[in-house]
């Protein structure tokens, strides 16, 4: 029984989540402050993977990063980076595909905080960065956890976009969801069952954990 697809999936989900958190936090903060046409358009683009068929997204990424022409060729010639049929490509595709799951909850939570919290912090002489770290971030920790878990869990379950840009290369792009499909194709129901059960169990534990944590937080006595 080859468990590499499981490790590869966890690695992909972990890297995607960490990178998206680093990018998503400042983007969500910026989006939460004020409105402009540019912000509305950007937000729409970030949200699109929620409704766009994954195969469509994967197809366009495949075209965009094809090593034969355009950006893909330039990246390969200049930096020796190839996004098509490689693990880096999976990470990039996963980041784009899971972006709304990271940015959405964080942005909504920041928007719901009263503006007077930031103002109170500024009046004490604190910078925007100090205010973000010490006041805003701790007060959205439930949403932050939700965003991280949703992003991780969503990446675990990616199929279409991963298949399009990564294919099915063992130890490189053959993640668990593809291994399930591949096993069923080969009538290997035992392997398909093991992969599926592991994914199911991980997702169940994570999502249940978030619900329990958030409920506990709401009922928390004096901390």
């Amino acid at each position: 029984m080859d468990l590499n697809p499981i490790w590869l999936t966890l690695k992909l989900a972990g890297i995607t989540t960490v990178l998206l958190l680093a990018i998503g936090l400042p983007v969500a903060w910026w989006l939460s402050k004020g409105r402009s046409v540019f912000k509305v358009i950007l937000e729409a683009i970030i949200t699109m993977p929620l409704v766009l068929p994954p195969s469509v997204l994967g197809f366009y990424l495949l075209l965009a990063f094809s090593p034969q022409h355009g950006v893909g060729k330039w990246l390969l010639d200049t930096f020796n980076i190839q996004f098509v049929f490689s693990f880096q490509g999976l990470v990039l595709a996963s980041m784009i595909y899971s972006m709304p799951f990271m940015i959405g909850p964080i942005k909504s939570a920041l928007q719901q905080l009263p503006v007077s919290l930031s103002q109170a912090s500024y009046s004490l002489g604190k910078t925007k960065w100090q205010t973000f770290l010490k006041v805003l971030l701790p007060n959205i920790r439930q949403s932050l956890l939700t965003a991280v878990v949703l992003t991780f869990a969503h990446t675990l379950g990616e199929f279409g976009v991963v298949l399009m840009i990564g294919g099915n290369i063992p130890n490189i792009t053959r993640v668990a969801s593809i291994a399930v499909y591949d096993s069923v194709e080969q009538m290997d129901y035992h392997s398909a069952n093991v992969y599926s059960f592991i994914l199911f169990a991980i997702t169940f534990v994570m999502v249940t954990g978030v619900f329990v944590f958030n409920k506990y937080q709401l009922k928390s006595p004096l901390e």
Binding site: Q119, S123, L124, G125, K126
Partner: protein, 205 residues
């Protein structure tokens, strides 16, 4: 000396109105600000603190220009550091009583003194959600005082306090303001409660 001359458009239920105030405040003076709801009392304080900006005007505090729309000078709230007591308290849900004050100042003696003035010494490890309305309001006042501001802006700061606590707190605040020479502007719907505290007044219509 604080010199304020501002003009700001306000959105009102019956259309737009203009908040227009030209006034000077003596250093160390305590001014009560009152007027009908929607007249712009809170907006006036927020303009001074730098949270919102007027269309026209200037604000000078002790010779330093905080705002001058003509020459596009506009100091951010962090540089103005006017103490601000918010009507909704604006307490930080993640911080305890002590952490609120420690976030504002590292002066431990001052923190102890403030806790005693606000009678919150026994509640230092409590977060705002476990404080009563009056305790939250006192914490909001103490937090604003923690930075020892030269100018203190208070928006309905005593509305949730019981009469006994109000008298005691006002007596203590009077001493602190006098010792520090703090200039104070207090918005109140109930100007009578400030009769023993304020020495000046501003009516906004």
């Amino acid at each position: 000396m604080i010199s304020i001359n501002i003009e700001k458009r306000l959105k009102a239920y019956h259309g737009q109105q203009v908040l227009k105030i030209a006034r000077q405040f003596e250093p160390g003076s305590i001014t009560k600000i009152y007027g009908p709801s929607g007249a712009g009392k809170t907006t006036f304080l927020k303009v001074i603190a730098g949270f919102t900006h007027p269309e026209n005007g200037n604000i000078t505090v002790d010779g330093v220009t905080w705002l001058d729309t003509a020459s596009k000078i506009n100091l951010p709230p962090q540089k103005r550091m006017a103490g601000f007591v918010f009507q909704d308290y604006a307490l930080f849900p993640n911080m305890t009583v002590h952490e609120h004050l420690a976030y504002a100042t590292s002066d431990k003696e001052w923190i102890e003194k403030l806790l005693a003035i606000g009678k919150l010494e026994t509640l230092t490890s409590h977060k705002p959600q476990f404080l009563s309305g009056g305790q939250q309001q006192r914490l909001a006042i103490l937090r604003a005082l923690a930075i020892k501001p030269e100018l203190l802006l208070m928006d309905e700061p005593f509305s949730a306090l019981d009469p006994e606590m109000k008298v005691s707190l006002i007596d203590n605040l009077k001493i602190i303001f006098k010792e520090a020479g703090t200039t104070v502007l207090i918005v109140s719907h109930n100007p009578q409660e400030l009769e023993n505290l304020a020495d000046d007044e501003l009516f906004i219509l």
